[in-house]
Symmetry: C2
Subunit: 393 residues, 2 copies
């Protein structure tokens, strides 16, 4: 008699976690250096020194205040600093009053789904997408509808236009994208804005754009990540400091509701209410204060660029086909056989741990997380070469 939905989600095995467990066992068997584990998107570079320095400094202060409840939406000083940072770096024009500090991007996305989507309504995501989008949409009683990508792994906006209807409450974009590393271009965002505005007009309802962007600072070659707020008024930014500050375990991020949104007061209230309903009280207090003093800084991300170049060039040279990733720390590689899971099983023979694309909403690809040591990448290339040979590449 337990709720079927939650029971199923608790019982379902995550392909990534299963693979991680397999990897741990295999490392114990044959030595960690002999397993090439590309399965997990856990930042491999430490947080910038300012984070731990800020915590050490905070520990010298008033302990009661440090560990105290903060307002549900976060410390006002932190919200102001976030708004200033967004306005300085992206001319986002957001106000601290519409920043809601969350326990990471997962919390932010879950809160958006509960606060914006009525039971039975649709949420649209573009494949490939982060698998938990489905969980968050369905937890709110919504239905996740997915749009397959174009050949170049860009969102298929023509297909989106066909999908929108009077029951569509929200569209999620993820830029730079996990798992493909692709950045949503200004051109795509312009068209996306036009399509969504036309649909709002046609169906007489608001369609919210939720922009999930925890990888915003992980971009290479000077590529810019355009801010969706400039292209569409009904946008909510969803951010996490997990990747840019290498703090995934500490759970801190935020939602930013655009200033030009007509019903922004109601939206902020609904998000606040959803936060209550999901059981959030506040994001951890000490980390809010520590991150506040590190805004605008990042971990040393240069290693990710070096890793991207090393792995991308190595694989392309071996004959693999791969979307060129401008950001994030993933390669999304086309599998030389259509069944991604079969390819991953074969890769295991060479101690290569890769994630099949199926959970990301499409077949035929694998995700490689290159937030690993450059040394491991270098040592893995002969294994990839053997795998390529097996497929006659």
């Amino acid at each position: 008699m337990l709720p079927k939905k939650y029971l199923a989600w608790g019982q379902s095995k995550s392909e990534i976690r299963e693979l991680a467990a397999y990897g741990a066992a295999r490392k114990a068997q044959i030595g960690a250096d002999n397993v090439f584990d590309f399965s997990i998107g856990n930042p491999s570079v430490p947080a910038p020194a300012c984070v731990n320095e800020a915590i050490a400094e905070l520990l010298k202060g008033d302990s009661v205040q440090l560990h105290s409840y903060t307002p549900a939406a976060g410390l006002m000083s932190f919200r102001k600093a976030i708004a200033d940072d967004l306005n300085t770096r992206y001319q986002a024009g957001v106000s601290a009053d519409f920043i809601y500090v969350t326990c990471g991007a997962a919390a932010g996305l879950a809160i958006c789904m509960h606060g914006l989507v009525n039971p039975g309504e649709k949420v649209i995501a573009f494949a490939p997408f982060f698998p938990e989008y489905r969980i968050f949409a369905e937890a709110a009683g919504g239905e996740l509808v997915t749009v397959p990508p174009t050949e170049t792994l860009q969102p298929d906006l023509d297909a989106l236009a066909q999908c929108l209807d009077g029951e569509t409450a929200a569209v999620i974009v993820n830029t730079p994208n996990n798992p493909s590393g692709v950045i949503l271009s200004a051109e795509s965002l312009t068209r996306l804005g036009d399509i969504l505005r036309a649909a709002e007009e046609k169906y007489g309802r608001t369609i919210y754009l939720v922009s999930d962007e925890p990888y915003r600072e992980l971009v290479y070659d000077g590529t810019a990540v355009p801010c969706p707020l400039h292209f569409y008024d009904d946008t909510i930014l969803c951010y996490s400091f997990s990747k840019s500050l290498s703090l995934p375990g500490e759970r801190v991020g935020y939602l930013a509701v655009g200033s030009a949104m007509a019903d922004k007061d109601d939206v902020f209230a609904a998000l606040s209410g959803a936060g209550r309903g999901c059981g959030f009280v506040n994001a951890p207090s000490m980390i809010q204060m520590a991150v506040q003093s590190c805004l605008g800084q990042t971990s040393d991300l240069s290693i990710y660029k070096a890793n991207r170049d090393l792995l991308y060039n190595g694989l392309v040279e071996l004959g693999f086909q791969c979307a060129y990733p401008d950001g994030a720390f993933y390669l999304f590689v086309k599998t030389p056989e259509p069944d991604a899971r079969a390819f991953c099983e074969r890769a295991k023979k060479y101690e290569l741990l890769l994630v099949p694309s199926n959970d990301f909403g499409m077949g035929g690809y694998v995700r490689l997380a290159y937030c690993v040591s450059s040394d491991m990448i270098r040592r893995s290339l002969p294994a990839f070469a053997a795998l390529a040979k097996e497929y006659g590449l």
Copy 2:
């Protein structure tokens, strides 16, 4: 078109937060020392030294590991330490495999409601109760049914027996109780267990007992808090370190599913699934590690006992009627007029900030949080005397 439930929760004013805002404004006007603010249950004593010492030590270690994702259910070393602590102190007989580390008790309760309650099912709570119980039950699509207390503010178990039916998924108890400070006795728990077992038999379904016990260590005069797991197999403990370690802002607690529960595997899975659906990834990593090394310790709670004695004796001497609180840091005082809100308005004339009992599911009482300075309590007594005089006490 925003979901009405969440919009309403985001727009509704919390009586306690409104009062806190009024208090802040009043303190600015007439000086903080002249306002007697009993409104907020924020621990007033610092965390024990071990917490900040542990954090300082952790900062010296591997930063990547420190701030890394932990498993969704928490670090296994922490879960084992929690199980050991519960088994040593309460002979709880729990296993680390059935401990789920949460972002505090609010997260734990929200997860229990989503994971255990199907839409349309009933959750029973005993007045007076923590107001967010209603939010969590209704967020899950359930209905909160409340049972008024006996004269001595104990749960009315006869009334409970009348309420239970085939649609009842869970019963929540809170011991020691916020706002009354009353502890659920072994005698009450024995009867509660008998009643729930009989109802399970009669209706052919499981009825889960959720025991919300963040104040478990805040007890005085050597009073024991009996562990509900000894009285009823289908019990889930919900705990937070917010009060015992004075860490409310850091969001760390746990759920413990009883070992004797027949469907404990499914229940643990459903709770895990509910955690995913609500947007939790893990409780903050650094705090999990820090608290692990402080298990069994508490803040210096002696000040709360001194405050209780001072305030309880002072008020009773003035003629107020009050349940004798064995635990927590609240007094629940009968108002000399039936309308608790009117009484609180009158108390404001004497700069006394008290919370009316209405939000706790019953009228005719006020809650006084005595996690404040003893000095403030001493200085407030003349104000209470003037208030008592106004009512002819």
